[in-house]
Subunit: 390 residues, 2 copies
């Protein structure tokens, strides 16, 4: 398995790459420090602050001395609160024992793949898709099989694609709905086909639902409504505006809870205690009202940005039904989206992310716009794009 | 590489075990919920609350809206503050660029091993030793070589032991000073021999210094005083009383900083933002004064507990010069330290940890006492031990 070393580095580090968006962000900050105005449409982080009731809960917990380790699986009250949220939101029963509190969805992904993937096992995922997924698989010595997706399947994997690309060593399928970078949502009947197909093929399904509450239109239920045998990754980062707190959760099939507990004990000990106490207030009515306002603000931004980009000359193949991203074809302007993003930042002061951060398929012809910044900033960004690309 | 599966579990999960101490702790809590009084000498977590200036800094940061992601390597100010601490405490210069803020020392260990270890690579470590170390290595498909240590080397690895056990695929050595479970400290001249030997053999040294400030007597300098080519793992958990905040740091050799950054971006995104802001106040005079009082309290407890355990009939081979543990031989009472710990909890209401949590070598003849509880509790624990073992 071991490749030749470069400078004593483990072979996996040849394949685990930085995100280009980090270079864009870093360059944007440099330009800003020189007095340039930059419109940030590159970052996958809502500008909203954490809702006040959540912050207050953290402060009260800190004052009460809640600074010691929790159990590795998390505070029992928080696991119960998440189960109650599934009941209230989607009308589904999830045993709190299956809900594991993690250091962000990153922690959930590491635990799910850690208990599933042997070296050489293959994992199917969409290309384009969330870039960390292939690196998590590589980290654990598995093989990430990126499957090219396009308009035909709304940039999502389908049961048919999964079946066609299944190999003897395929162990798992990773999905996200809504997806990053496209915002595309898998409708429930398609999801049911996927669940059944993966089950029939004897694999595991890992479903990323971190944008699940950020849908603009009819929201499908969690995949947990369809099966108890899937792994669901979720997070307080995106919808709940708690990125910096590093707290998320994993719902695991019953048989996997004990191995996940063992692994979490060893590689994390536990998730942050103040963050867990804060998250207890994430499901209160006061918080959810604030978050619904944020969701509506995001919808308004999407409804503005999508036609504006098309009008400028970008193509948008995936339907951005959720999250806060638009994945846009830039063929009319460039054959090299990386150079295009660099130039756009330098010349026009607009920061966006090149397609190569999300895979290889048609990456040079695509860019991702985040609409996590204010409407005012988006309007200015569109004005600059229009001028620069005219 | 792949072993046969049990119930779809990755093969690594056959080898990654729970800690027995978790079973002891869980049973202790059950007994307490039934009204029993239990003296906790099993947990590796100081009972002290996080110092007030640190808590206040977190509250102020939360009020100021510091809840977004930081760079993957951490807040620049915190990296500078840690460099200043090395300067002030040990008189050594560490480039802040080499200091990486991590989600606890667990995060630091995962990053260090992640950039170093290929499948099949071997890592030397002491037996007994910190149990997660071998599981981290196994997680990454490496092979942990536990080397039996005893009185002859104060339960630490020595240059001679390292050389004797070196194999073609040996890639790294893991040390901890002070060590868990023994509290043994490696004197600087011995450490220098180890550093030179590992360097000559072409391996990497990963040094756990999470108990480095908890030494009762003359404190050696950080291994960073001897070499820039070592990996140092540290944490705000133990000395700084910030266990539940999940924040630590890694000092990496210069050439490894960029790969560590790439890996951290992918598997963690960043450490907790409120915790990073809190940690900025960990090095202030007000905090350090509180922590020095805690250190003195721990020293007083050790000075009480060590002779008391010997008087009862336990043997103590390693010199518990630091941390908050005493690793004690229980040969006079049992051939089976696991059963002994279970019985002690049930019959005498004293919770301690069996040797098997720390390795295999003479594990059935040893137990670990933590002196993280109050002097009053320790005295009651000793009274119960004396009565039960009389």
């Amino acid at each position: 398995m071991s490749a030749s070393r470069h400078n004593g580095l483990a072979a996996r580090m040849e394949d685990i790459q930085s995100f280009h968006v980090m270079g864009i962000l870093s360059r944007a900050r440099t330009l800003e420090s020189q007095g340039r105005s930059i419109i940030h449409m590159e970052i996958g982080e809502p500008e909203f602050p954490t809702p006040e009731p959540v912050v207050t809960a953290a402060i009260e917990a800190l004052r009460a001395g809640e600074t010691h380790y929790t159990p590795a699986l998390g505070l029992p009250d928080l696991r119960e609160a998440i189960a109650a949220y599934y009941r209230q939101r989607d009308g589904i029963e999830v045993d709190p024992q299956r809900i594991i509190i993690t250091p962000g969805s990153s922690g959930a992904l590491l635990l799910a793949l850690g208990v599933l993937i042997d070296p050489g096992d293959r994992v199917l995922m969409s290309d384009p898709g969330y870039p960390c997924n292939r690196h998590f698989v590589r980290f654990l010595e598995g093989v990430a099989d990126g499957i090219a997706v396009d308009e035909e399947t709304d940039y999502q994997l389908s049961a048919e694609l999964i079946e066609r690309h299944w190999q003897a060593r395929t162990r798992a399928v990773m999905l996200a709905s809504p997806a990053n970078p496209t915002g595309a949502v898998i409708p429930e009947h398609k999801l049911r086909e996927i669940v059944n197909t993966v089950e029939r093929l004897g694999g595991a399904l890992i479903m990323d639902e971190i944008y699940h509450d950020l849908v603009y239109g009819q929201r499908p239920r969690s995949v947990l409504a369809l099966s108890d045998a899937v792994f669901v990754v979720n997070s307080f980062s995106k919808f709940f505006n708690m990125t910096g707190w590093r707290i998320g959760w994993l719902v695991a099939p019953e048989d996997f809870v004990s191995p996940v507990d063992r692994l979490a004990q060893n590689i994390f000990l536990a998730a942050s205690t103040p963050a867990q106490h804060a998250a207890l207030k994430a499901f209160g009515k006061g918080t959810l009202d604030i978050l619904e306002q944020h969701r509506q603000a995001l919808q308004q931004r999407r409804d503005y940005l999508l036609p504006a980009l098309r009008d400028i000359g970008f193509t948008v193949g995936a339907h951005p039904a959720g999250a806060f991203y638009i994945y846009a074809g830039c063929h009319r302007f460039t054959q090299d989206s990386q150079a295009f993003c660099r130039d756009l930042l330098e010349q026009a002061g607009v920061a966006i992310t090149p397609g190569c951060d999300f895979g290889q398929y048609r990456a040079a012809g695509h860019v991702r716009f985040s609409y996590t910044t204010s409407m005012e900033n988006l309007e200015e960004g569109v004005r600059r794009l229009r001028e620069y690309l005219a």
